[in-house]
Symmetry: C2
Subunit: 576 residues, 2 copies
């Protein structure tokens, strides 16, 4: 490709409404242009990357045995009425009436259409399993579109739906998709994690989100760099510390802590680390004793995890913090000075608290705390449970290293729908024994356009985008210095272009006649992985210069070597 036959349009500054770096860079590099809020035109450069993502997704879905279809964007309301979503879906659902006053939606997702198709086409167990997918433009009327293509209103999505005769077979396909999604994101070249969205067990009524790791992500993820463990922070298990509880060395001593309410104030007042204090939280129980207060203890530097707390036996659902009156009645003090010493009710401590000795805790008297508190000696040994959010450095629940906390951008989601839609739309098959049964369903989504934003969030520097080669708009760019003036430069540049094309490299030759500085800046902004500079000065010495987008310096090669070297640099390194 010659740049003069293509269309490059870069900007010095991003518009001020671009909040995140990927949005700014996509605008500056000319990948997208805004048409309305959350609605973009994919410009030639951006579309090339989009199609590359699309093709990788398609190839891997086909390889996994899914079959591509293309369902309509416009769907009749009747199907949504049948599933019940017509009433329940919020204003993100774009609804309209056609010229004959019939109700339609512009589909944000296709469970209804595909289930309607399945109930017409799949009648027998012999036709199962089936997995249909499509890659299609979707519309969701987001209330506040932002982050460019990461939370746009019109976007490209791969959505797949599988149909099964049994839950076991659904689980088989769910695993297959788990592996396929991992292959897709690995092949694209992204650092990602499959995050258990609930139970963490792939066999359960499960759901996994695939997140690209990036500082700017919207979700907090606990992950283990030494293994493939990952979970939403709120769902990751906090293991007990390895070390056993030390023996007490200090005596219980009541100290006056006037005005001290928070752990930070307490640690500061006593000049100790927060990890030597214990936080007391009082929630409502829910058992034969009614809504009696339950005391929960977590280490001062930890946070109570409400989801974990609520899942315990005898705890009110949803989780409810005890009222000031109930606390006063049960403890004789207000929050800020609470503790287990002398408390008659139920006490549950986090696994980390269970490993403490000689800690600081409230004395159940306003403005007083105990130092040198010890479990068993100063109060009855409480129940132990996982009560807190994990923090960086915690051991990974799979025992393979230490957790890190990062932010993630959700780019994929796999989900065992089970019979939710099949029941509603009466999607049945005849089993081997001639009995009618409701199908089991899975659904599997990938945000195709969103992947580009996520890839940029993960891969950029001050000069611009750093594309993984698999989805770069071009894998290499030839930058000739003086293309119009020097015949040697022109001939060499064209020859390298033709030889790279012949070698299967997606290359662009910049024949626009820009000055070197502006030309280099454009291609660094656009993020093309390999740059080949052809200039008279180098040619005099018989060399051209190759520089990877992440490299600080160029390397010199003869024009004859340059093609092989470029191919070599672009060939994925197999690590196994």
């Amino acid at each position: 490709m010659f740049a003069s036959r293509f269309f490059i349009s870069t900007l010095k500054e991003a518009p001020s409404d671009a909040e995140v770096v990927s949005h700014q860079l996509m605008l500056r590099a000319g990948l997208i242009r805004k048409v309305a809020a959350g609605i973009y035109t994919w410009m030639p450069t951006g579309l090339r990357s989009l199609r590359k993502v699309e093709n990788i997704v398609r190839e891997e879905m086909n390889r996994a045995g899914a079959v591509e279809v293309l369902m309509p964007a416009v769907q009749p309301a009747e199907l949504w009425q049948e599933s019940g979503r017509w009433a329940h879906y919020g204003p993100e659902l774009l609804r309209f009436q056609d010229r004959h006053q019939r109700d339609f939606v512009v589909g944000p997702t296709h469970e209804e259409v595909v289930t309607d198709m399945a109930r017409r086409e799949l009648k027998s167990y012999r036709q199962l399993p089936r997995h249909f997918y499509q890659i299609q433009t979707k519309f969701r009327d987001e209330i506040r579109p932002r982050f460019g293509v990461m939370r746009g209103r019109e976007f490209l999505m791969k959505d797949g739906y599988s149909f099964h005769a049994s839950h076991d077979d659904l689980v088989r396909e769910y695993r297959n998709m788990h592996d396929t999604y991992s292959r897709i994101f690995t092949r694209i070249g992204l650092q990602f994690r499959a995050v258990a969205a609930d139970t963490g067990s792939i066999g359960g009524t499960g759901s996994h989100e695939f997140h690209v790791i990036a500082e700017t992500g919207e979700d907090d993820i606990a992950w283990c760099p030494q293994s493939d463990y990952a979970a939403n922070v709120e769902l990751a298990e906090a293991l007990a510390p390895n070390a056993a509880r030390p023996s007490p060395t200090a005596g219980l001593q009541k100290v006056h802590t006037p005005g001290v309410k928070t752990i930070a104030e307490l640690a500061n007042f006593l000049k100790i680390g927060a990890e030597r204090t214990v936080k007391a939280i009082v929630v409502e129980g829910d058992d034969e004793a009614g809504r009696a207060p339950v005391l929960m203890l977590v280490r001062g530097d930890h946070e109570l995890n409400a989801i974990k707390a609520q899942k315990l036996e005898g705890i009110a659902d949803p989780l409810a913090f005890a009222s000031a009156e109930a606390i006063q009645a049960a403890f004789g003090a207000a929050p800020g000075s609470l503790g287990p010493v002398g408390f008659k009710g139920r006490v549950i401590m986090d696994r980390s608290v269970a490993a403490l000795a000689d800690f600081v805790i409230g004395a159940n008297q306003d403005d007083w705390h105990y130092t040198g508190a010890n479990i068993g000696r100063d109060f009855t040994e409480p129940e132990v449970a996982d009560l807190r959010n994990v923090v960086a450095g915690d051991p990974s629940p799979d025992g393979k290293g230490a957790l890190e906390i990062c932010r993630g951008i959700e780019v994929g989601h796999i989900f065992q729908l089970r019979t939710k839609y099949a029941e509603a739309l009466d999607c049945r098959f005849v089993d081997e024994n001639g009995r009618e049964q409701v199908m089991e369903m899975g659904c599997y989504g990938i945000g195709v356009s969103r992947i580009l934003g996520a890839a940029i969030e993960q891969n950029h520097d001050a000069r611009g985008i750093i594309w993984p080669a698999s989805i770069a708009p071009f894998k290499a760019v030839i930058c000739p210095i003086g293309f119009d003036k020097s015949e040697a430069v022109r001939e060499t540049a064209k020859r390298l272009h033709d030889e790279l094309v012949a070698a299967g490299v997606d290359v662009i030759l910049d024949d626009r006649g820009e000055r070197p500085g502006a030309m280099f800046a454009d291609w660094e902004l656009i993020g093309v992985p390999q740059r080949i500079v052809v200039g008279d000065r180098g040619l005099k010495d018989g060399v051209v210069e190759i520089q990877g987008r992440r490299e600080e310096q160029a390397s010199k090669f003869s024009p004859d070597e340059a093609v092989d070297e470029t191919v070599r640099r672009l060939t994925p390194q197999t690590t196994d």
Copy 2:
């Protein structure tokens, strides 16, 4: 591809609302399934053909120098208000309000969006010309969707828009697109014609429609099998007959023709051919004489062409037939017995009438005609003009043969928009002299999904579709007889499959275990170009059978020869 990993779903009968054969066959062959009126799901088999059309279009557009983009389906109303189409576009335009009550449309076409892009991106003559195109799902709320994908509401379209510094350059690109479209339809393998939609001159403010020739088309086309001439019947020029007017041999004789009103009745009454009679039509003039009646004469077997008649000097625009009163006053008779003899007003005769002698014409007296009428002798020599529709057998206007009349399905349209949208949206550039000028624009559409319907209308038989190989869902199918029972059959079928794949042939192996009759019927219905039958009986003689979809009989080849033979049959024959 193995059929068990694909999804084949054929029907014995097409639903009764499928009026045309392509719609029936697309449903029966499982290419599409209806979701709502004019809204379809593309099933796996249909989607494969759709993607093949799309890829041919994309490759040829890229080769022609156009650059692909992807504009949003959803467009803000502001742009349509700027162009004026918000007010003028009819109910085919799907309009809606988003959750913030802002007006949007689901774009049936993208002139506004692309012109908005051009006015932001293209500032200088140095950036021109530019041609942006996209392949995208469109929505038009047709009042009566029908013919399946040929007149659906949601459909796939290639729309391209070019921007130019001058009309000359627009004409250059228009010719380029004329050639590109011809290449596309030739490569797909369709019999088509580029039909002049108005002037017929490619350089004018022109427009050409590309029609696939098919009996079931909606448009009448005059075309010349000996050349590339084609035009809408209403626009094709009817040349003068080659032979000069014979000398009179009969005298003018007034005959009583009681109750005879039409040409058919007249010819029948007089026992002569309609081509020996002349039809008189009275229209309103429009000149200094006011709306005086003008008499137009065409041969009895011809039809007056209203467009041609109206274009003549001094004829009312729009064309108006004279009232019964005006005719009575001017001719003294009612329609059915009119003629030029004794008429004092303006008379215009068609070129074919000008070559007649001894013809029959109305006598301007109710129920009376003249036989033996002759021009010049019996009435003043009238003006001569092209007044009629062409008919089959007329000489082609390019002098290269005789015209045929056929029906066509419009699958492409190229159009010189000139400055219509650029003026409205103020899309300007700075020319070489530093002056601001409005851009010249062209637009170029291809109905990608419609092509499939048109291809089937042109290529089918009683057994089903006959795909051109270029867009067949599969180019070859291997039909094993007893796949599950015979190891020899299974091994040979698999080996042929793998070898054909290795040879680049898009092949499917039918391992569904259907009986031969049902299996063959499925693939004939689906229209796969080459079928290879592998059975124990043949293998005993060392052969498999290959049969082209248009062939009545199979030919025998050894399994080793079969791959080469299949490749040979699928290789396009170059004719130049």
